[in-house]
Amino acid sequence: MARMKFLCDAERCIECNGCVTACKQEHDVPWGVNRRRVVTINDGVPGERSISVACMHCSDAPCMAVCPVDCFYRTEEGVVLHDKDLCIGCGYCFYACPFGAPQFPQTGAFGVRGKMDKCTFCAGGPEPDGSPQEFAKYGRNRLSEGKLPACAEMCSTKALLGGDGDVISEIYRNRVTMRAARGSISGPPWGWDSAYGGPQPASAPTPGPAPAPAPAPGSKS
């Protein structure tokens, strides 16, 4: 099995916020914390695009790199999780994350930050699978039940895909092929370059002399 990944198809997302609702309901996420949210670009303008954003479980996760107490770990399925018993709520991960995934409940006095909370890919955390302790700290562990993340599984337009990276990229590739046959244009999946790196070439190109820069318009040679 390859790594678990999310893929959001901006051509399909209709900003229904069903994924956000499903996540909050599934994990009993407290008020003020959104593990997933929908971002709309050019809202109200023809051609607007919406994207469902949460933790992308990056290959080289910045949150993991900056955490001063090393509370993050990556499972063998590639899911980035953290131990809330270690988290000190410093907020470094929030500043490091390119997707704004880490959330901090502010239920204490004087707006004090609580322990970080983020999308777990419905994989729970470092507590016994399916235990009340796991649910209270991290939410439901759907992966251990053989299920995929609730947000992706209930997406009405199937804009949000979640699961084995090879499988969902194949689903997306098939979709793009169908779109190309209809004459519409589609770009690479949103966020994949940031989260998983750019497309890997089949073979590394041999280094050669750098091409001469093209002269600017109007410049004299």
């Binding site: 099995m1 499972t75 018993d85 251990s144 599984e153 979709r175």
Partner: protein, 73 residues
């Protein structure tokens, strides 16, 4: 008077040793490595009991439910 002082000294002694019952939050901290509790893989849970292949089959089947081209055609 003596009794009150005895009670006060006893209370101070109890306060002094109160922290001794606190268990350490991090047993072994090593810079740059995960220091929290270990986690079990998802296929170790009750429905699969360590059968990784069965779990992967279930996940693959579940993932294909997201492919509506396959579902409708």
């Amino acid at each position: 008077m003596t009794r009150a002082m005895t009670i006060a000294v006893a209370a101070c002694l109890m306060l002094a040793v109160a922290a001794c019952s606190e268990r350490p939050q991090v047993v072994q901290y090593k810079q740059g490595t995960y220091s929290g509790k270990p986690d079990t893989p998802p296929y170790q849970s009750a429905p699969y009991n360590g059968d990784k292949a069965a779990w992967e089959r279930a996940m693959a089947t579940r993932a294909q439910a997201q492919n509506e081209y396959k579902r409708t055609n």
